[in-house]
Structure formats: structure tokens, C-alpha cells
Amino acid sequence: MEKKVELLQKRLDRERLARKQAEIIIEEKSRELYYKNQELERAVKAENLARKEADILHEALEFFTAKLDIDEIASHLKSILMQLVPHDHSAVYLFEGGVLVPCGQGKEPDTGGDGAAACKPTISPNGVSPPVQPIIIPNASNDPEAKPWGVHLDSQTLMVVHLFAPGRVVGCLTLESREADAFSPAAAKLAQAIANEASIAFENSLLYREVERLSVLDALTGINNRRQFDLLADREFQRAVRHQLSLSAIMMDLDHFKLVNDTHGHSVGDKVLVAVADVCRRALRTEDILARYGGEEFCFVLPQTDVNGAYAFAERIRKDVEGLRFEAGGRGFTVTASFGVSERLAEDDSPGSILERSDQALYAAKGGGRNRVVMWKPRELRDEALTHAESG
């Protein structure tokens, strides 16, 4: 009997211990399950976020490929970043003639004068291997390194993302946050990925702009080509007709230019043309139109200018051209130009009519000994003038 009790006691003790063991194991297992569950939830959350990011990226890509307007692309880039990379201020800069110029909405950030204007980029368009990763500057408002980027807020963190096109940097993008450590490596990576998409769009848009620019400009002198001149002249002519305004045209031709080419070679001739074009360009008012009309022939359309005003204008340029000094083969030389001037007449139905008269006057200037300005006059006046000359 006693033995039976002892045996039962032993069993009971073991049973108790086993139960305790089981409790511990089950607790451990449920904790494990809890962590696994949390891990799963995190994974689901990350997955959802990644999907959302992918959707926005996809949409961005479609938008970028469809757009050619730089400001539109920049604004869109900013709005995407606002959704995907939390921040307080963003700015997009593109290189224009070697200088970073802000673009997109809010071009002029509220910086108290210390913003985009003060932005002196530390990157160059042909920079030696620019960082492929965004630059993150913590404590940006106090860091001198952040200064060139024009910190716009009392920002804690600044992220600079380069905009890459094949072989060069198109510009950059800055994101500012008032929070410390605002940008995680994942956020930086995402910002770079979005920026890369935008870069392609920027590059396309810049190329398009360049092609557009080239198609209207004379390749050598950078002033309007004949085609563009015809377009602009026509526009000004219509305006003048509509508002009954005066409008003058000048035809200009370099004297003995063939001789310059023959004596000094075409490259010197080209330099002369560029210098003359510069002189002409400097003389222009904003609304005036200048173009290279042919080889060494230039023309002007001067809105709201009568023939006397045009004459004075041409005379100024004539003197400026005469004053240019060139040198070739150790010898200095100068050039001169002849000008024909006329204004719109009531019966004119196109700018071509004015130009034709200016051309006649130019012909007269050449015939009269070159390096001069001749104003077109009606035949009867001209005949009268000739009679005077003969009698005088």
C-alpha cells in the first residue's frame, strides 16, 4: 500500500514537472509565433509600400516619356518625390550654360534672398565621376558643405541627388527636411531611381530644345537664319498693318567680302562674319529682328521705326563695322559694309516688298561707292535727285 502511494506520488511529481515544461514550451512557441506573425505583417506592409512605389514609378515613367516641357517635368518630379520620399522642401536645378538654374514650380524659393540665387553648385556638368549615390548632409543648416545648395529652411537634413544623362550631369535635385536623419538609404535609393527617370526626360527635353534652337539659327553666327527671319518678319509686318505702325527694313552687305576670303582664307572670313554679327546684335532693341540673309548679307526689320530712324540705325552700324579691327598673317585689316534702307508703304502686302526696295537701295549704295547707307526713294524723287546731281 505504501509502495503504491509512493509510486503515485512519483508519477504526480513527474506529471507536474512535465506540465510545467509543456507550459514553458507552449509559451515559447506562442512567442515565436507572435514574432513570426509580426515579421509577416511587416513583410506585407513592405510589400504594399513597394507596390505603391512601383505604381507611382510606373506612372512617373509614362508621364516623363510623354513630356518635353522642362518645367512640367520638374514639377512632376517634385510631386512624385513628395509622395514617395517625405521631405519639407525640394528644388530642381538644371545646367544652362554651365550654371545651375532652378526650374519647375516655385522657381524662386522663399529663401530671404539666400536661396537659389545664392546656389553655387559644387558640381559641374562634366564633373569627374560624380557620386552615383545621393549626397546626404545631416545638420544642413549649420554645415558649410550644404551652403552652396542654398538651404531654404531651418533644415536638419539635406539630400542632393544628381541628374545623370549618358556621360554627363544634367543637373541636380535637392530635398530638405526639418527632421534629423530624415533620409534612409532606401529613401535615397528611391530618390535616385526617380531622378534617373526624370534625367532621361530632362535630357530629351534639352535635346529637343537644342534641335529647335538650331533649326531657327544660323550655325556660324548664332543669329536667326533666313527661314526664321521670314517667319518673324511676316509677324511684325502683320502687326504693323493691323495697328498702322511704321516698319522699316535694312539690307546690309559686306563690301568686297570675296576679297577677304580670297586673301586670308575662309576661316578668317568666318571670324569677320561672326564679329559683324555681334556688332549688329548689340545694336538691337528687344523687338528688332536680325538675320543672316545670305553669305555676307544681313538684314534687319525694325518695328515702329520710320525710314529716317532706320537710316540712323544703319549709319551707326556702318560706323561700328568700319571701326572693327582684324588681323591675319601679321597684317591688320578692316571691313566695310553697304546698307539699303526703306520703310513700309501703304500699298505693301508683304515684308518682301519692303525688303525688295531696301535691296534696290543697297544696290544704289554699292554703285555709289560702298561703305554707305542709301535710303530708298520713289523713282520720280530719284530722277529728280539725279537731275539735280547732273545740273550740280
Binding site: K3, L7, K10, A18, K29
Partner: protein
């Protein structure tokens, strides 16, 4: 004729499910006596103190000690003990996992399902379980070969399970076994109609 059981090999592999221990002790309680179980535990002086829970995992070495000592106490060879244990476990499986036997009417129908279905389900419940592999073949209608592969070297236990299965369906089949390899151990059982 059963091959010699290499009990030391049981040590290899993963810890053993607590259920195997609780079932083993229940078997000794049932077939012999609670007193025998107590003496066996006392004699074995196990690290766990003989405290097992079905949700736990334990050192397989403890099972080796228990079976060896029980063999010493009773004079029954280890393979025979394992075979008896196999029969006992089958009865437990019938009660604990009736879904495995649903719609099955014979052992030749059930046994091929062990590897492809039963063990798949077991693994869902116990992802860390160390399970043997079984491959079945039908050399001729009405018989079957079943090849057993396990790091645990428990072929006699498998044989006990097969025999209990045959009994469960009240069939007139007999089981013979053949050792195909020893390291790792491979045993092939032939299940064929009784020669009468």
C-alpha cells in the same frame, strides 16, 4: 529474420518527439506494470529525470537507454521490443489521426500513402520532425515491397507498425524484411499473402 538493430545510430539526427517517450512509458505501464516503468526510470537515471511532455523534444539517447535497459530487465531482444512498440504506436495513430485512415479499406491501400500524404501532413504539424522515407512498389497484385530509410535505424519499429496495420484491416498478410544497406540503413519489407 530481422537485422541487428544499431541503436547507437538513433543518437544521430534531430531530437526525438516527446510523444514517442510518453507512448513508450504508457506501453510499459500497460504491457508490464507501472512498477516496472518506475524501476526502468530509476535504473536508467536519465538527464530528463523521465519527465516528458508530448509537445517537447528530447535527446534520442534517452530512448536508446530506455529500450536497452528494458531489454535487459525483461530478456526480450531490442528488435522485438521495438516491434511491440510499433504495434502500440499504430493504435495511437488510429485514435489521434483518424483522418489519415478515412476511406481506406486495406493496408495495401494505406501503406503507399504514408510517404506522400501522412508524412506531408505530419510535417505541417511538426516542421522539425525527423521522418523516415518509405518507397512502395507492387511486384505482383496482392503484395507490396516497402523500402524504409531513416537515420534513426528503427526498422523493427516500422515493421511493428506495418504488422499492426495488417491486423487492423484483418488481412491475411505476412511481412518479411531484408537489409539492403547499413550506412545509411535501408531495409526492404515484403508484404505478401500468408503461405498456408
Amino acid at each position: 529474420m530481422l537485422a541487428q538493430v544499431n541503436l547507437h545510430a538513433i543518437e544521430e539526427g534531430l531530437p526525438m518527439k516527446g510523444m514517442v517517450f510518453t507512448e513508450f512509458m504508457e506501453l510499459v505501464d500497460e504491457k508490464l506494470s507501472p512498477e516496472t516503468t518506475e524501476s526502468l526510470l530509476e535504473m536508467s537515471d536519465l538527464p530528463s529525470g523521465g519527465v516528458y511532455t508530448s509537445v517537447g523534444n528530447y535527446d534520442p539517447q534517452e530512448m536508446v537507454t530506455l529500450v536497452t535497459n528494458l531489454s535487459g530487465m525483461t530478456g526480450t531482444p531490442v528488435p522485438d521490443l521495438l516491434k511491440i512498440f510499433g504495434r502500440h504506436l499504430f493504435k495511437r495513430f488510429l485514435v489521434s489521426f483518424p483522418e489519415f485512415f478515412e476511406g481506406i479499406t486495406s493496408s495495401l491501400e494505406f501503406l503507399p500513402r504514408v510517404d506522400g500524404y501522412v508524412h506531408v501532413e505530419v510535417r505541417k504539424l511538426y516542421p522539425d520532425a525527423e521522418l523516415p522515407a518509405f518507397t512502395c512498389d507492387v511486384p505482383e497484385p496482392g503484395s507490396m515491397t516497402m523500402t524504409y530509410e531513416s537515420k534513426r535505424h528503427l526498422a523493427p519499429l516500422a515493421e511493428g507498425l506495418i504488422l499492426a496495420c495488417i491486423d487492423h484491416y484483418g488481412e491475411s498478410l505476412e511481412v518479411s524484411s531484408e537489409t539492403m544497406a547499413t550506412d545509411p540503413p535501408v531495409t526492404r519489407f515484403l508484404i505478401a499473402p500468408k503461405q498456408s
